[in-house]
């Protein structure tokens, strides 16, 4: 067994059938493309909805307004964070969005709704990192609450959490691999697809893993560059940087705030 596994000729043959034959490499590329589309769609939805949730919760905390809406937001975040994303995907794919034909869209929406719960925590920490004097200065100049939020608080908060948001995108690239469970053709689904034709899992799994690794590594490099640019143009003294996504974010944000 070991011998056949290491046999160079058969190995080359197995690689060929996993990657070259029938232009199977196109399947990987297509899977990767779909993975990136889903992750991108998800992160955009996640940021928009996440910031909206954060703004509502923050407003409730600061002004006592939006009580009901804030309550709804808290329930939403609790449910999303308290249930596995795979089940959320099943619920969306087979029930809520069952009529939607485009699986990639369903995936993007599902992961976006999921990501929003996590982004909202990051965004809230970002909003809370902004000095109270900023809101007061804005209001004292006759700007409305929403204008002050939009022009003064949000831009500064966003800037503080860009690294954390990018991290969320990286997490999403990997996490969307569960979309294969409902038949969405993303990169994580491709090895199974090819195995069903070649009856060989080894190279399909290896190739897909390497592709994830390379993409994530490249994105990490981009993140480093962004962080460097932000640090260089750090114009506001005493800026709080909020890093980490998912589980890490809350603890870290709290630490940097105290």
């Amino acid at each position: 067994m070991m011998l056949t596994l290491l046999n160079a000729k058969t190995l080359a043959e197995r690689f060929r059938s996993a990657f070259i034959v029938d232009e199977r490499w196109l399947l990987y590329l297509n899977g990767l493309k779909n993975t990136l589309i889903i992750a991108l769609l998800a992160v955009v939805i996640g940021i928009l909805l996440g910031f909206l949730i954060a703004a509502v919760v923050y407003t409730k905390k600061k002004t006592g307004k939006l009580k009901i809406l804030s309550f709804v937001c808290n329930i939403y975040v609790t449910i999303i964070r308290g249930t596995p994303v795979v089940l959320q995907l099943f619920i969306m794919y087979f029930i809520v969005l069952a009529t939607m034909k485009n699986g990639i869209l369903v995936g993007g929406i599902t992961f976006g709704l999921n990501s929003a719960a996590y982004v909202s925590e990051i965004a809230r920490a970002g909003l809370e990192s902004i000095d109270e004097g900023q809101m007061e200065a804005g209001r004292s100049l006759g700007l409305s609450y929403s204008k002050t939020m939009l022009k003064i608080i949000l831009p500064q908060a966003l800037r503080n959490i860009i690294p954390a948001l990018f991290n969320e995108f990286i997490t999403l690239v990997k996490e969307t691999s569960v979309a294969g469970y409902v038949g969405i053709l993303e990169l994580g689904k491709v090895p199974g697809l090819i195995q069903s034709r070649t009856f060989d899992y080894l190279f399909p799994l290896l190739i897909a893993s390497v592709m994830y690794l390379v993409v994530v590594y490249l994105l990490t490099l981009v993140e480093k560059v962004i962080e460097k640019i932000l640090a260089k143009s750090d114009r506001s003294a005493g800026n709080v940087k909020i890093t980490g996504g998912r589980k890490k974010c809350k603890k870290k944000a709290q630490k940097s705030l105290s």
């Binding site: 000095d131 004292s140 100049l141 006759g142 700007l143 800037r159 506001s236």
Partner: protein, 261 residues
Amino acid sequence: MQEKSTKEPLIKTVGLKKSFGELCVLDGVSVDIFEGEKVVVIGPSGSGKSTFLRCLNRLETPTDGAIYFEGNELTPTTDLEEYRKKMGMVFQHFNLFPHLTVLKNITLAAVEARLHEKKKKKLKISKRQIKAEEKARAMKLLTRIGLQDKADAYPSTLSGGQKQRIAIVRALAVGPKVMLFDEPTSALDPEMVGEVLSLMKELADEGMTMIVVTHEMRFAREVATRVLFMDAGKIVADGPPESIFGAPKDERLKSFLAKVL
């Protein structure tokens, strides 16, 4: 001096109260402030000076009492945004917007205010024109304080004195009728206090109505037309600086002055 009483006060408070939970911070403040007056508010720490200013421009909602501005009482339906445009506020810690250039700091609110007006009154003027006009006005203000070359700089590159002078100019850009200052020099290094005080003095000389909370007693003596001494949420003494500093009658005022002078 005599004619004052026949004029309507610019700001009038009647029995103004503010509590934070159990803590009563303002305990019935009634005062008339007339156009052109330079009122300096002094008093021990925690006596409610900041809270008084913050109630005046409604950063804080009073628990009880009334505020009149130009004769009109502030009610729950008062447009607070419009109201605050008539009342500039300068903070101890400047509160400049760190993500915006000096110029943007100054023009932001003024541009928003005019865009709002344009929409409300359906004015013809273009957004671009408004921006250009406000930029020109801001540059004039900056030139006046000798910081025109800082227009494109970010606040973090400025000294404390420069920051506070820009904060003053930012408040002026909206066109207020009265300026509120809450310890504008307390966060400054001693060598920068002078430049901020002299800008405030200039404003005073131009006739701006000012309410200034400060521990700078020399400024109070030189610039104030009227001094309010607050203690435990009440105005305990109210008069021209000569009588407040020269012949204080109230015991609490005497002991306060003994400490700070």
